[in-house]
Symmetry: C2
Subunit: 171 residues, 2 copies
């Protein structure tokens, strides 16, 4: 019997904390290239990074980067939700198209969860849209142990609901 | 049969748009005095107002004030939710304790909905906590036609869920 599945070449990936000024362009490039983010969302992703740089330690956002061959292959942006005891939001997670399918998304989310555990976080929320384009996104979160916690009908547009996924962290 | 209910003295209320620098102190005073907002929430309410003043027309927040006897009796803060076609958030609505029970909250929310309709908004979301303290808040939103759309268990704290209320606007 032949093996129908391609074996991925797993390139070495380095996980790095902390946003640097030079990362802004990489973030803009990645969120544009994936095809999953609207123009408004791309703008917000960059604005959040710029705001984080400007605010420094005061910022509630935190960033994690996955580097492959000295380049940023993907990143996550997360943070403690103000007004909650220990809930966190995963605001953004994106992997450059040329690096997708190599487990970088799973690695980024696992490291993000580990950082959140270190910060005494006990639950992570992630919001996404219900429309067809995001089916792989839903499958990705489910494969990482996230469950659908809420659905807000027609939130984004008449046929596009907001889905809120959640994962409880064992601390 | 005696009438057990007090007849409220309805004082004339003026509804005013636009945040002015002098309103910041009134906002701080009201969100502190109601007893419904945590220290973190009070800080956020003031920060949002300050950010709005600094950003001017670029800000996505909008404010509405109810004035009685030349003083601010209550206010709402609302705005279009970035990335959505026509969904709005009601971020804050608060009435000073000495003005509660006079219909100012209902008046503020009705005028806020009217402003949102003018901006082609077709749905309003409002988030609140599930704990006992907020029972009157839930009853208030329900009396204004808002329905519970989602519940996120243990969002704020182990025994404190996030409740998301929603009202569809007929445009």
């Amino acid at each position: 019997m032949s093996n129908e599945f391609a074996t991925h070449t797993i390139r070495p990936v380095r996980i790095r904390d902390c946003l640097q000024a030079s990362d802004i362009a990489a973030i803009a490039r990645i969120v544009s290239a994936t095809g999953f983010f609207s123009a408004a969302e791309q703008r917000i992703a960059v604005e959040i990074a710029e705001e984080h740089l400007a605010k420094g330690a005061e910022s509630t956002y935190r960033f994690l980067f996955a580097e492959a061959e000295q380049k940023i292959a993907g990143y996550s942006c997360y943070g403690h939700i103000d007004g909650t005891q220990s809930s966190f939001d995963l605001y953004w997670i994106a992997v450059a198209p040329e690096h997708q399918g190599n487990g970088i998304g799973h690695s980024l989310i696992a490291h993000t969860e580990s950082r959140i555990r270190d910060l005494s976080g006990n639950g992570i929320y992630v919001e996404t849209a219900s429309r067809e384009l995001y089916r792989p996104t839903h499958a990705f979160y489910e494969s990482c142990g996230y469950q659908l916690a809420a659905r807000l009908p027609a939130f984004y547009a008449p046929d596009d609901d907001k889905l809120i996924f959640f994962k409880a962290l064992q601390v």
